[in-house]
């Protein structure tokens, strides 16, 4: 696995990943967080109260061929099958607050495919009106 990125690198890669997914309007982004417990350091320096947090982001692609797409023989599918994106970073316990403030911002900005609060009602009405008119 690739080494962990710094926070800056992680955020820029994550922004790219989210924007690409939003633009294509297909695919997924998986963001995972878990406590990082390193087995080697447990005996020496025991700090079980506040472990670091491991953050991973991936697009869920796999390098293995998809039997479905090969059966269909679609050209576009083989093209879109980019290599798997998998990034990760480690956040120390005392950096959590600053990291997550930024993390929330990046995700909010990147996830543009979700419903916007103001737009939602206006466009739903407009869409309905357009359907009725045509």
């Amino acid at each position: 696995m690739a080494p962990h990125l710094t926070h800056e690198e992680f955020f820029s890669s994550l922004t790219n990943l989210l924007n690409q997914t939003s633009q294509k309007a297909r695919g997924s982004v998986f963001l995972t967080q878990k406590a990082l417990i390193e087995p080697t350091t447990e005996e020496g320096a025991v700090a079980p109260s506040r472990p670091s947090i491991l953050i991973r982001a991936t697009d869920g692609n796999t390098s293995a061929p998809n039997p479905k797409s090969s059966a269909n023989g679609g050209v576009s599918k083989t093209k879109s099958k980019a290599s798997k994106v998998k990034i990760s970073t480690v956040v120390a316990a005392d950096e959590l607050e600053t990291f997550y403030t930024r993390y929330a911002e990046v995700c909010k900005a990147g996830m543009s495919g979700l419903k916007k609060r103001d737009r939602k009602r206006g466009k739903a009405k407009k869409g309905a009106a357009a359907k009725v008119a045509k």
């Binding site: 939003s22 297909r26 982004v29 997550y100 403030t101 993390y103 909010k108 996830m111 419903k115």
Partner: protein, 172 residues
């Protein structure tokens, strides 16, 4: 794998799960668009209706699925949303969860919720004890399940799933 009805319930339950299993519990957020199959079936209708607007509204609305999973106990909590307004709040809460915040410091509980939630924490511990105690504890698990079902809807979902599993093991 219950989908919890509100983000508040999801965060509360996730917090309790993290408390019970801080080392193995992981939180995953999946940002995804509906599969291309459903999209292509919808597409023929949408371009005709939205002529003036840009292509973006015709595109499917993405969804954000949150999942808290602990492989040791097998507990899986889910929540799904498609509103961008919730994203910021959810990720801020994730930060608090990562920092090891307890239910009270999440700052989203009412008066009634913590009591029901505390009952669920005890449930989280109970199965582990039962496992060590052996099959005889199967009956205890059954009675506890009944007790939590009365306590409230959300804890019953999470806790009930656990004790059902244990009960099944004990009977067989």
């Amino acid at each position: 794998m219950p989908y919890l009805p509100t983000s508040q319930a999801f965060l509360e339950q996730s917090c309790l799960l993290l408390e019970a299993y801080p080392e193995t519990t992981r939180i995953t957020a999946k940002y995804n668009f509906p599969s291309t199959q459903t999209r292509s079936s919808r597409k023929p209708t949408s371009p005709t209706t939205t002529n003036g607007a840009s292509n973006a509204p015709a595109a499917p609305v993405a969804s954000l699925t949150l999942k808290t999973y602990d492989p040791r106990s097998g507990v899986c909590l889910k929540y799904r949303t498609n509103k961008v307004a919730e994203v910021g709040r959810l990720f801020t809460s994730f930060g608090k969860l990562a920092a090891g915040a307890d239910v009270a410091s999440l700052g989203l509980t009412g008066a009634a919720a913590p009591t029901a939630a505390t009952a669920d924490v005890e449930m989280g511990d109970a199965p582990a004890l039962e496992e060590s105690a052996g099959a005889a504890a199967g009956a205890t698990g059954g009675s506890q399940q009944g007790a939590t079902t009365g306590a409230g809807t959300t804890p019953a979902k999470a806790g009930g799933g656990k004790s059902k599993k244990k009960g099944g093991k004990g009977k067989r």
